[in-house]
Amino acid sequence: MGSLLRIVGQRLALGFLTLVVVSFVIFVAVNAMPGDFAQAILGQGYTEEAGDAIRKEVGLDKPYFVRYFSWLGAALQGDFGTSFAQASFTAYAGTGTGSGLGTVAAQLAPRFENTMFLATVAATIAVPVSLVLGLLAALYRNTIFDRVVNIFTLSSISSPEFFMAYILILLLAVLNPLLPSLSNIFDGMSFADRLNRTLLPALTLTLIVTAHMMRMTRAAIINLLASPYIEMARLKGISPMRVIVVHALPNALAPIINVVALNLAYLITGVVVVEVVFVYPGIGQLFVDAVKNRDIPVVQACCLIFAGAYILLNLTADVMSILSNPRLRHPK
C-alpha cells in the first residue's frame, strides 16, 4: 500500500510542477508581445504622464520576475488582475478599479460556472451512452451493427466541431424547433430553462466525445478478448454477454477510466468552438473575444484555467489507472 501512495504522490507532485512550468510558459509567451500597452490604449492621446499612470495601474512598471510571481501568487488566490479592456474604460471614465467590476475574476466567475455546467451536462449524457455502445460494439464485433456504428463514430470524430454544431442547429432548432439555437443564459434562470438552453451545445460536445470514448472502450475490451482466461470462460459455455460484462469488463476498467478522463480533458478544447457557435456565455467565448481584443490578463487567466483543468484531468486519468490496476493494489 505504501508504494502505491508513493507512486500517486509522485504523480501529484509532477502534475503540480507541470502546472507551475506551464504558468511560466504562458507568462513568458504573453510578455513577448511587442509594443506598449499604454500607447495602444491611449492612441493619439498618449502623453508621458498618462502612459505612466496606466502602466502603474496595471503593474507594467515592475521587473519581469516580480511581475510573474505577483501574478502567480495573486492567481492562486483567485485574483487574476484587471481586464485591460475594463482598465482602459475606467481610465477614460476617471473612476478607480475599486468597484470590482473590472477585475478578471469577476468576469470569469459566472462564466466558469456556466462552462462547468455545460461540460457536466455533456459528460452526464456522453459517458453512459458511449460505454453501452462500446460494450455492444465489442459484443457484436464485425457485424453490420459494429460497422454502422464504426462509420458513424469515425465520421463524427473527423468532422470539425462547428460542422456538427450547425447540423444539430439545422435539425433540432431550425427545421424542428425543439431547442433554442442560441444559449442565452443569465442569472436567476430556473434549472429546467437553463438545461433546455444548454442542451444543444451539450449534445454537440456529446456527439464528438462519445465517438472517441466508444471506440476506445471497444478497442480496450476487444484487446482483452484474446486472453486465455476469456478463452476459458468461453469454453465453459458462458454466454457472450456474460463473458464481456463479468470477465472482460473488470479488467478493461483501467483503460476505460483512462479513456473517460482523457475525453473529459478533450471536452475542454471542444468547448471553445462550441461556445462560440452557440454564443454560450462560458470561458471559451470569453477567451476567443479576449484573443481578438488582445486583452492580456483575460487571455492569461483563461489559458491558465484551461491548462489547469487539462492537467488535472490527465492527472486524474493517471492516478485512477494506477489505482484500478489490481497488480499495484495487491502487491505480492
Binding site: 468532422s159 470539425p160 439545422l170 427545421l175 478544447t269
Partner: protein, 399 residues
C-alpha cells in the same frame, strides 16, 4: 404526446417483432444454426434496423413526391440520402476500377480494400486534383466581387438563383463555387505544408534525441512534456494573439505565423513517436557499424534511421494531417486563422453561418455554409477511413 406513443409503438413492435422474426427464421430455415443460436437482442436489433430503414424510405418518398421538392422541409433529408447513395456508388465503382486498372501492386491493394477505404482514397485524390488545378477549374477568381450579392444556391431563377453562379454568391458578391474550389488549394495546401513542417521539426528532433540521448534527450523531452500539458487549440490561440500583435496590420504574414505556430505545437506529437521509433532503431547493429565507420550525426539521422522509420511515420502523417487541418479550420472559424482575401472553408462557414436560420422556409439559402463545413468534414472523414483501414491491416486487432 404523439412522440411518446411513437416511441412506445416502436418498443412494442421491436420486442414482439424480434421474437417473431427469430421464430419465423427458425421455422423457415429448418432450424439453421444461424437462427437457432441467435440471441434475442440480435433479433430485436434486426427489427429495429428494419424500422429505421422503412422510416428512411418513407421520408425519402415523401420528400421527393411532395409539391415543390426544392423548398419543402425534407429538402436536406433528400439531399443527404442522395449524396450518401452517390458517394457509396462512386466508391464502389472506384474500387472496381482500381481492381482492373493500374499496376499489379495497386490492383492487389484494391482487392482487399473495404468500400469505406476506397471512398477515402477517392476523396483524397479528388481533393488533391481540385487543389492543384484550382486556378483552371474555378469559374471565377477567389476574391472577385460581383454586383450580385446573396444569390441563392441552386441556379434556379425562380428561387432567387442565377445560372452563372451555380452555388450562389456570398454577402459581398463573391462566387461561392469558386471560393470552395480555391479553398481546397488554400486550406488543404496550408494544412499540408504545416504538417510537413511539423514532421520535419518533430522527426529531426525526435531522432536527434534518440541518437544523442543524455541531456539533449532529457531537455527536449521535458520541453515537449510541458508543451503537451497545454491543450493544443488553447495554446495555438494564445500564440496567435501574440502573433497578431507582431503582425500588426499585415494580415498576410499572420497566415505564415499560424503555419509555424501550429507546426511547432503539432511537432510535439511527432517528436514523441519519432523518439520512440528512433530508440528502437538506434540499438541495431547497423547503427553501431555506421558509428564505427565514423559517420556524422546527419548521416546517422537521415541515411540510417529515417529510411527505417518511414512506415510508422507515414501512418502517423495521415492522422496528424487531419488534426492540423481541423485546427486550422477551427482557428479560421474563430477568426484568427487564414486571413482574407484568401478563400478558406473555416472563414466561409463563419461568414455565412447565419444563413442556416433561413432553412425552415428557404432551404436553398442554408446550403452554402453547410457546403463549406461539409468540405472540411468530407476530407477528414476520407483520410480517417484510409488510416483506420491501414491501422486495421497492420495491427493485430483481428478478433
Amino acid at each position: 404526446m404523439s412522440a411518446l406513443t411513437t416511441i412506445a409503438a416502436i418498443v412494442i413492435i421491436s420486442t414482439l417483432g424480434g421474437w417473431m422474426f427469430r421464430f419465423a427464421g427458425q421455422k423457415g430455415s429448418q432450424n439453421a444454426p444461424y437462427f437457432r443460436d441467435m440471441p434475442y437482442g440480435v433479433a430485436v436489433g434486426y427489427v429495429l434496423g428494419a424500422i429505421v430503414l422503412l422510416w428512411l424510405a418513407k421520408t425519402y418518398y415523401l420528400g421527393t413526391t411532395l409539391e415543390a421538392p426544392a423548398s419543402n422541409q425534407y429538402f436536406f433529408f433528400v439531399k443527404a440520402i442522395n449524396l450518401f447513395v452517390i458517394f457509396a456508388l462512386a466508391a464502389y465503382v472506384f474500387r472496381i476500377f482500381g481492381r482492373h486498372v493500374g499496376t499489379a501492386g495497386t490492383k492487389k491493394l484494391f482487392r482487399a480494400m473495404p468500400v469505406t477505404a476506397a471512398f477515402g482514397v477517392m476523396i483524397i485524390i479528388a481533393y488533391a486534383v481540385t487543389a492543384i488545378f484550382a486556378g483552371v477549374i474555378a469559374p471565377h477568381g477567389q476574391d472577385q466581387v460581383f454586383a450580385l450579392a446573396n444569390v441563392v444556391p441552386g441556379g434556379d431563377p425562380a428561387l432567387g438563383g442565377n445560372p452563372d453562379f451555380p452555388l450562389g454568391t456570398d454577402q459581398i458578391g463573391r462566387d461561392i463555387l469558386s471560393r470552395l474550389i480555391y479553398g481546397a488549394q488554400n486550406t488543404v495546401g496550408i494544412a499540408f505544408a504545416t504538417t510537413l513542417l511539423a514532421f520535419f521539426i518533430g522527426a529531426s528532433l525526435g531522432f536527434l534525441a534518440a541518437t544523442l540521448g543524455g541531456w539533449v534527450d532529457q531537455l527536449l523531452s521535458r520541453a515537449v512534456d510541458v508543451m503537451m500539458a497545454i491543450p493544443s487549440l488553447i495554446f495555438a490561440l494564445l500564440l496567435m494573439t501574440i502573433a497578431s500583435a507582431w503582425a500588426g496590420s499585415e494580415k498576410g504574414i499572420l497566415t505564415l505565423y499560424m503555419v509555424v505556430i501550429i507546426a511547432v505545437i503539432d511537432s510535439t506529437r511527432v517528436f514523441r513517436l519519432a523518439r520512440a521509433v528512433g530508440q528502437s532503431i538506434v540499438v541495431m547493429d547497423y547503427i553501431e557499424a555506421a558509428k564505427l565507420r565514423g559517420e556524422g550525426l546527419g548521416y546517422l539521422v537521415f541515411r540510417e534511421i529515417l529510411p527505417n522509420a518511414t512506415a510508422p511515420l507515414l501512418a502517423e502523417f495521415g492522422l496528424r494531417f487531419c488534426f492540423v487541418f481541423l485546427t486550422i479550420a477551427s482557428l479560421s472559424f474563430l477568426g484568427v486563422g487564414i486571413q482574407p482575401p484568401l478563400a478558406d472553408w473555416g472563414t466561409m462557414v463563419r461568414d455565412m453561418s447565419q444563413f442556416i436560420n433561413f432553412a425552415a422556409f428557404a432551404p436553398q439559402v442554408a446550403v452554402a455554409p453547410l457546403l463549406a463545413a461539409g468540405a472540411i468534414a468530407l476530407l477528414t472523414v476520407g483520410v480517417n477511413f484510409v488510416v483506420d483501414w491501414m491501422l486495421h491491416k497492420s495491427s493485430g486487432l483481428k478478433e
